[in-house]
């Protein structure tokens, strides 16, 4: 099954959510491959220990004709994940890739889940990932600058006949009377999404510490994530 994590908004939590999903799925026994499709290589930086000075053989090489996929295995507190890395070389091509780029690329690989972490755009590589995805999630951090790009991403996906689920990160059940920032943002987000399906990851989940490997992902957090992505 292919999962695409996408949003036009930079810093909305795509890479973080990719790591949370990957760890959660792998912890219950699924074989998981993460594809770092972002020229920034954020996912690669978080998950692997590749020296920043070294070339990260990975997605760029595959897309430009290399048959050697260079899949690396990483481990977080006993949970194993496979990863195809990315680096800045991807910057030259990611925005103009064909929407059918991933059609036949990873069909022969034996994974239960392939998760595509995409850059902050709906074009090029992100569109290619969405085209092959069985499920698409749009993470959205609760900030003022996130609503419009999130809605734009939803619309862009509809144009290629794809539906997505929005995941509100750091969500708090809003107090109707309160004008506190998080309450206002939570209310506005809910209203703006209309009929678009969404789920929430509460503010109590310390996403940053899990992503940076300072903290181990707990059973409770795994259940929260699996509920949000509807996997049992």
């Amino acid at each position: 099954m292919n999962i695409c994590i996408t949003s036009q908004k930079g810093g909305s939590g795509k890479t973080s959510f990719t790591i949370l999903i990957a760890l959660s799925l792998s912890s219950i026994g699924y074989r998981v491959l993460c594809l770092d499709c972002d020229p920034q290589g954020g996912l690669t930086s978080y998950l692997s220990k590749i020296d920043y000075k070294k070339k990260r053989k990975g997605i760029f090489d595959i897309l430009t004709g290399d048959d050697n996929y260079n899949i690396i295995t990483v481990e977080r507190h006993g949970i194993k994940l496979d990863l195809i890395p990315a680096d800045h070389r991807l910057d030259a091509i990611y925005s103009s890739l064909s929407p059918y780029e991933f059609e036949l690329k990873f069909n022969d690989l034996n994974y239960d889940y392939i998760i595509y972490d995409t850059p902050p755009t709906v074009q090029g590589i992100s569109r290619a990932a969405a085209m092959v995805a069985d499920t698409i999630f749009i993470p959205a951090d609760l900030s003022e600058g996130t609503i419009n790009p999130t809605l734009y991403t939803i619309d862009s996906l509809k144009k290629i006949k794809k539906n997505a689920k929005v995941i509100l990160l750091g969500y708090k059940v809003p107090d109707k009377e309160s004008n506190a920032f998080k309450d206002v943002m939570s209310r506005e987000f809910k209203e703006s999404l209309g009929s678009t399906p969404f789920d929430t990851i509460p503010a109590t989940v310390n996403i940053k510490r899990i992503v940076s490997d300072e903290k181990k992902i707990t059973r409770k957090i795994i259940e929260t994530i699996l509920n949000a992505i509807e996997v049992k």
Binding site: L63, T64, G65, D66, A92, I93, S95, S96, L97, S98, Y100, E101, E103, L104, K105, Q123, G124
Partner: protein, 243 residues
């Protein structure tokens, strides 16, 4: 005024030189559009000195994911001779062998100066593959004139290499009856103004409908016999001129 297509990004990227192959569609028509040794050497010098291939090589992906060249085979060959590990490619999303071949021909033709003999061979290739293509559409595809296509067609028909056709397909893919030549009538006198001049700015060989309707209407509305005869003779003159 022509309608502008929506501007989209082209899928252009570097690709492993050794992983490309020439498509079967291009292989079939390559020999019809050869590059001269002088032009090839000039191209090689230009690429070598500039250090780049400015026009990306056009490829499509087949069902197995192979990247197949439809345009730019010479540039690819040169890159291999120069030992370049990657070349710029433009991926074209195109399906259907005939569409791929059309693209292969169009892309290569725009870069060639074919001799008259080479053009005739290309025309013969088109007519043999589908004799029902109109002279106009073959002329457009081969970069030649309708008259040349007509001559080549006549030679092929008389040699039995293609069958004479009763219907032809226009560039709009519609089928039209091949018009029968009309014998030249005696010259008519024009009264000097009552008759609307016939326009020759349409390809009346196959698209006469609107124009004939106008002429027929005029004939039927003509008040007397002399007007009607003048109109009919004008129509005949016109058909003769576009034969």
């Amino acid at each position: 005024m022509s309608k502008q297509k929506q501007i989209t990004q082209k899928a252009i990227m570097p690709y492993n030189t050794n992983k490309l192959e020439i498509s079967p569609e291009l292989k079939e028509v390559q020999q019809l559009m050869p590059i001269s040794a002088v032009d090839y050497d000039q191209l090689k010098r230009d690429i070598s000195e500039s250090g780049e291939i400015r026009d990306p090589i056009k490829v499509y992906r087949d069902k197995s994911g192979k990247h197949l060249i439809v345009g730019g085979a010479n540039r690819w060959n040169i890159a291999q001779e120069l030992g370049w590990s990657t070349v710029p490619i433009e991926i074209v999303e195109i399906k259907g062998s005939s569409k791929i071949q059309d693209l292969a021909i169009k892309d290569n033709l725009s870069r060639r100066h074919l001799s008259n003999d080479q053009k005739r061979k290309l025309i013969a290739y088109f007519l043999k593959s589908d004799p029902e293509q109109s002279n106009k559409s073959v002329a457009k595809k081969s970069g030649s004139t309708k008259e040349t296509v007509k001559t080549v067609r006549a030679n092929l028909e008389s040699g039995g290499e293609i069958r004479p056709v009763k219907t032809v397909k226009g560039a709009d893919d519609k089928t039209y009856k091949k018009p029968v030549p009309i014998s030249k009538p005696k010259k008519s006198e024009k009264s000097g103004g009552e008759i609307r001049p016939l326009e020759k700015d349409i390809d009346a060989e196959y698209d006469l409908n609107q124009h004939f309707l106008t002429i027929v209407k005029d004939i039927l509305q003509g008040k007397d016999k002399q007007d009607r005869e003048l109109l009919i003779n004008s129509m005949i003159d016109y058909l003769e001129s576009i034969k």
